[in-house]
């Protein structure tokens, strides 16, 4: 408490400097813009565009992703987000006062900390003069946080952004029913004892039935797992194919974990508990074991099971994004450029999870790339069936012609370049935090495996989707 109180005083001098900098921003901006295209081109063509600032990822981190209800279960979302932020500060040693703006994504909001970005930033020791806001766009909330940051940098409004995301599924806001809430609010306004008594007399036992946060699409009342099962059936994806894909995800994640490739993970010392150092949802099983599971949504004959779906996860991620010249001026060696991105949306009933299929060709066209130019694919794995249905859709001329208005199919991403270090199925999927994990996985894979371009794509509730090109920063 006292730290928070004394905070402003300590930071006062910097604040005045800040004010100065903002004042001269318009001038510096234009010169930076002109300078931008001059920056490096060594290997293939780069996606730098004239008159637009290059945006780079300096680095990104995440807390270990845990099955909900395990070690993080007593925390609040901003605790997790704070852990990611302090991890980022530690990893990058960025001076806190340099950060212009903080953006976090989250899906199920804790009511007390609805602007979780701000609460976490304050707790993590950022300047209270650094504004922060929270965005929500279902499973692509962190992607939205990042691209909002890209927009702020590219338009010259900011130079240094922290973007991230957080989700704590161990605790969700369960509300009183609408009737009960109404009664309680009316009681608050009641003036006399008589009014109060007459209100209380209206109370019925069923008012106490709680209201859970929606697990279903609001527009269609269908749960996502149910929709995924129908999607898999529409594309004739078999149970075995789904189990095989899930097994691949878990095996690759295990390998990556064992080989220490998941370098974006920072340890988190959970208050009152042991330090958590790695993801705990990676559990390669056998096809026989997986075949025993009963369908989770469409009973008794569906194909989506607990084993081939992503699980409820707690976790947070954060990423330092800068204008390239700012990063260089500060002596950083950035990991990647954030290039073109694209949001799409389609029918939330029958095409809920087909976002990647729609977004991929559009972002490639926008960037002037083809599938062959991509060296690392990082797709969000909501369900095995969803990934495989997207594959089949991308590989279908019929679908491309009839639903995407294209003459030819999108084309299949080669599996050897696809989610090589595991995915949401195995690493976990804290809704609001996954986007940053995808980008960091793509960036780290490009550095490790070589290659210039990575493609990140994800689907989200509401029938929305996102894709972004990540370009490796020349070594």
């Amino acid at each position: 408490m006292t730290t928070i109180l004394t905070y402003p005083f300590k930071k006062l001098p910097t604040t005045s400097k800040w004010a100065l900098r903002f004042a001269i921003r318009p001038l510096s901006c234009s010169s930076q813009l002109r300078a931008a295209p001059a920056v490096q081109t060594k290997t293939k063509k780069t996606l730098a565009k004239p008159n637009i600032r290059n945006v780079v990822v300096v680095d990104g981190v995440r807390t270990p992703f845990l099955l909900s209800g395990t070690s993080y279960k007593d925390l609040m979302p901003h605790d997790l987000a704070r852990a990611a932020l302090t991890g980022l500060l530690h990893r990058t040693s960025v001076p806190k006062e340099v950060v212009d703006y903080i953006i976090f994504g989250t899906v199920i909001q804790e009511v007390k900390t609805s602007n979780v970005a701000r609460e976490a930033a304050l707790g993590a020791g950022f300047s209270d003069k650094t504004p922060a806001h929270t965005v929500t766009m279902a499973c692509i909330s962190a992607n939205q946080a990042m691209t909002t940051g890209v927009g702020l940098i590219a338009s010259g409004q900011c130079d240094v952004i922290v973007a991230g995301g957080v989700e704590l599924m161990s605790d969700i806001p369960i509300r009183h029913s609408r009737k009960m809430r109404k009664l309680m609010l009316d009681l608050n306004k009641a003036k006399s004892m008589g009014q109060r008594l007459s209100l209380i007399s209206k109370f019925r036992l069923n008012f106490l039935a709680p209201e859970l946060p929606a697990v279903a699409e609001f527009s269609t009342s269908e749960t996502m797992g149910h929709s995924a099962d129908r999607l898999a059936a529409a594309f004739a994806v078999s149970r075995l194919e789904q189990d095989e894909y899930a097994l691949r995800s878990h095996s690759l994640a295990k390998k990556a974990q064992d080989e220490g490739l998941l370098s974006d993970v920072v340890p988190f010392r959970v208050p009152g508990k042991d330090t958590v150092t790695k993801d705990n949802g990676i559990r390669p099983s056998s096809l026989e074991q997986m075949a025993k599971l009963k369908p989770a949504f469409i009973k008794p004959y569906g194909t989506v099971t607990a084993a081939n779906s992503s699980f409820l996860t707690d976790g947070a991620s954060a990423m330092l994004i800068m204008a390239e010249e700012k990063a260089l001026a500060m002596g950083y060696k950035p990991k990647a450029y954030l290039r073109d991105f694209m949001y799409v949306s389609q029918d939330p009933k029958d095409q809920l999870l087909l976002g990647p299929t729609y977004a991929t060709p559009k972002v490639l066209e926008k960037a002037g790339l083809t599938m062959n130019d991509i060296d690392a694919f990082e797709f969000h794995e909501a369900f095995s069936g969803q990934i495989l249905a997207n594959f089949k859709a991308m590989d279908s001329d019929w679908f491309a012609e009839n639903y995407m208005g294209r003459k030819t199919k999108v084309g299949l991403p080669p599996l050897e370049k696809f989610n090589n270090w595991g995915g949401s199925l195995s690493l976990g999927h804290p809704f609001g935090a996954t986007g940053c994990r995808l980008v960091m996985a793509a960036a780290n894979r490009l550095r490790k495996e070589g290659g210039q371009y990575g493609l990140v794509a994800a689907c989200a509730a509401g029938g929305q989707g996102h894709a972004m090109i990540v370009e490796a920063y020349p070594k």
């Binding site: 527009s219 529409a234 009933k349 279908s396 019929w398 009839n402």
Partner: protein
């Protein structure tokens, strides 16, 4: 308790809720010559499962015809004989239809009771064999599964249905004056319990798949799929087949039990029904209810109860026998012929005889947000038409928009829509006070007050703002369209669209064309009406068109009868017991006394003495006292919010007394009173055909039944003449003519029919 439930369910039954089922469609005889190859059914074997596909040739729907029966028997025999096959799946090749029911033409073609009974018995035999099949058969249902189709499905060992809006199950035979004649009366009670089965059979209602699952009518549901590597419908059918095959295998391997776990309520109901005393009470209550509602005019419901009772009390053999015999008897009744005739007429009136319009109407504008205007808006936005609702005042507009919202919200309450769909539908509606956006309208329907000069004013205003192709339709019940069109710059684009109140409930739309109305304008109006879900008759312009013109002389007679001292309650009961859904006095209150007065005066001027009878002064006095009917709270009856019971308006006594006429005893028996009303109606209808206002008798029947509530059991005025006999009607008319004069003079066409008994409106 069981009785309560049965009664509760039955309370929704009403004789007038007729023929809503769209799936029960007849098929023209194709007279297939290819007897060697199968044309209706084929089957393939997948592993050890036979997949039997039903596909009636040259038709949108599958119907149970003689050919289909015989091919089905052949195929099943092969399946039973084959060692390779261990189970079977029964599926349709048509995405929107499993089996829509028996071929109505096949039934109509039967000349004798024995023939019909025999048809029923053959079907019973086939289905009994199917029920006892040693190899499990799974019915995979997508689309309508009605009548014989459902009877076939419930003879199978297992049923899987798609949870699609198009998938409906039901036994609508009662709506055609028949009963489920292929074992349905025996199997349904066993499957879903007696109360639910009786409800299904007596109302003929369509049951959606999810409800059917809860009732135990189907065992599994399959969700319809979205687009994948094939069109959604195609892939959904494939998926349904795949799922059905796994269940067929499971049943053959005894891994899946066809038995269903019943819920507690169901178990209790089933237990209660084992007690003879409870059963008797249930039958009694249901019979009472049916008698009260059908007033003895419809024989089918009572026979259905009787057959069900026979099956339960005397065993299935007696039940099946009784079913086939009663089926034969019912199909031969006049009521059944009348109802089947209406069914055919309805199919006819669901087609656009003008062909497809050049331009689809996408933007609609409605003038006047009153009861009618808002009603039209509701049925339009519902179907995705972008609709502007314009009124002159904000209060009027508010009321109209509220009405549309309430109409949609009621559907949400009944779970026919989700609140999300409601909002998205409601967003198609724009309420406004000006003509903004009319430049995009493809059609304008005016529903302003019935006043010629007002209609002229809005027509001129609207023509100044609408594009050239836009159609101007007038919703009027009596003003001649040509008079409205007289001030139009483009009379070829002017047409009449007469909706009936309440628009969202009444199925009829009367479209009125003038000499100048172009064919494309008519095509467009019919297309819009069909989109709004209406049954459409197209008539020529003239005073009162068809419907109002038929009603006017009958209303005039109503007034005379009241003047002669018949109590309104008595008159109501006389008319309802003749088969009218609403009593004659109540009808005046519902329509509105002022409207009735308007119509009586207007048409009285044109048609003169022939439309006379009652003294219009009665209506004038009522209007002057503010007795406008239901809308003003007082008419012949007193209406109060929340009060169901209707009391006579005692203030009417003085008015009636002042206009009292002496009754003529020779034509004042109960039956004579009924016939005085009906014959005037029928005579005027036939005259409309004679004068060319009506194009076909079928449209006349549909208009009378669906728009005016002419007794459905009589099949409409023309069917009534055919079935009752033109001679007898003419005799009646002559008798009344002798008492009252010209108003009852039979028209020429009716006289012609009386003179040559072979002449029929329906050949």
């Amino acid at each position: 308790m069981v009785a309560c439930r049965a009664i509760g369910i039955l309370s929704r039954f009403s004789a007038f809720r007729i023929l809503r089922s769209r799936g029960y469609i007849c098929r023209n005889f194709t007279g297939s010559s290819a007897l060697l190859t199968r044309t209706h059914i084929n089957y393939g074997v997948k592993g050890d499962v036979a997949v039997v596909r039903i596909n009636s040739p040259n038709s949108k729907v599958n119907t149970l015809s003689k050919e289909l029966h015989s091919e089905f028997t052949e195929v099943m025999n092969e399946i039973w004989a084959s060692d390779q096959i261990r189970s079977a799946v029964l599926i349709s090749s048509k995405p929107g239809c499993f089996i829509a029911g028996a071929d109505i033409n096949m039934l109509s073609a039967c000349k004798t009771l024995q023939e019909v009974t025999q048809l029923s018995q053959e079907a019973q035999r086939i289905l009994e064999k199917l029920e006892k099949s040693p190899k499990p058969v799974v019915a995979a249902i997508n689309g309508s599964c009605l009548g014989g189709g459902l009877e076939l499905a419930i003879s199978c060992q297992y049923r899987i249905a798609t949870k699609d809006r198009k998938t409906v199950l039901g036994v609508p035979e009662v709506l055609l004056g028949a009963l489920p004649g292929a074992g349905g009366t025996q199997r349904l009670p066993k499957m879903v319990g007696v109360p639910a089965a009786l409800d299904m059979m007596l109302t003929g209602r369509n049951i959606r798949a999810d409800r059917a699952k809860k009732m135990g009518l189907v065992d599994q549901l399959v969700e319809p799929l979205g687009p994948g590597l094939k069109p959604p419908e195609e892939r959904t059918m494939e998926y349904l087949e795949e799922v059905a095959i796994t269940f067929a295998k499971g049943l053959a391997d005894k891994k899946i039990s066809p038995k269903r776990n019943k819920g507690l309520v169901e178990k209790l109901t089933a237990y209660a029904m084992t007690i003879p005393f409870v059963r008797q009470q249930v039958y009694k209550k249901v019979e009472e209810k049916v008698r009260k509602q059908t007033k003895g005019l419809y024989p089918a419901p009572l026979k259905i109860i009787d057959v069900v009772k026979t099956g339960i009390e005397q065993g299935s053999d007696a039940g099946y026998l009784s079913e086939s015999q009663k089926f034969g008897e019912l199909v031969m009744t006049k009521e059944s012929k009348a109802l089947m005739g209406l069914y055919h007429g309805q199919v006819l009136c669901k087609k656009n005889k003008f062909g497809a319009p050049q331009k689809d109407v996408k933007h609609l504008a409605i003038l006047g947000a009153g009861l009618m205007g808002a009603g039209i808006a509701q049925v339009s936005v519902d179907k995705g038409l972008k609709t502007i609702l314009k009124d002159a005042t904000l209060t009027g507009l508010d009321r109209g928009q509220q009405q549309v919202f309430k109409g949609l919200n009621d559907k949400v309450k009944k779970k026919a829509l989700t609140s999300f769909e409601r909002d998205s539908i409601f967003s198609n509606l724009t309420g406004q006070l000006d003509y903004q956006g009319f430049e995009k309208a493809d059609m304008v329907i005016e529903a302003v007050f019935e006043d010629l000069s007002l209609k002229h004013r809005v027509l001129k205003e609207v023509e100044a703002v609408i594009p050239d192709h836009c159609i101007f339709a007038s919703n009027t019940s009596a003003l001649p369209i040509s008079e409205i069109a007289a001030v139009s710059k483009r009379p070829e684009k002017v047409i009449g669209m007469h909706y009936f109140s309440p628009v969202d409930k009444m199925q009829l739309l009367e479209i009125i064309t003038t000499e100048k109305t172009s064919r494309d304008t008519s095509a467009s109006a019919v297309a819009v009406g069909l989109k709004q879900g209406k049954v459409i008759i197209v008539v020529k312009d003239g005073p009162g068109f068809y419907t109002t013109r038929c009603l006017a002389p009958m209303m005039s007679e109503v007034i005379r009868i009241l003047q002669e001292g018949v109590d309104p309650k008595k008159l109501d009961s006389l008319t309802t017991s003749f088969g009218f859904p609403v009593g004659a006095a109540t009808l005046v209150d519902e329509v509105g006394v002022d409207v009735a007065k308007h119509v009586a005066e207007d048409l009285g001027k044109v048609f003169g003495e022939r439309f006379g009878g009652g003294n219009p002064e009665l209506l004038t006095q009522m209007v002057s006292k503010g007795f406008l009917g239901r809308k003003s709270g007082k008419g012949f009856y007193i209406y109060q919010e929340g009060v169901k019971r209707k009391d006579l308006n005692s203030d009417m006594d003085s008015i009636l007394a002042s206009l009292k006429l002496p009754p003529k005893s020779e034509v004042s028996s109960d039956e004579d009173i009924q016939f005085r009303l009906v014959t005037r109606f029928v005579n005027e209808a036939v005259m409309c055909l004679q004068e060319g206002i009506l194009a076909t008798p079928a449209e006349g029947d549909i208009g009378a039944v669906f728009g005016l509530g002419f007794p459905p059991c009589l099949g409409g005025p023309f069917r009534f003449v055919d079935l009752y006999g033109a001679q007898k009607i003419v005799d009646r008319l002559k008798k009344y003519e002798a008492a009252y004069g010209k108003q009852f003079t039979p028209c020429q066409l009716l006289a012609d029919h009386a003179n040559s008994p072979n002449k029929k409106f329906y050949q």
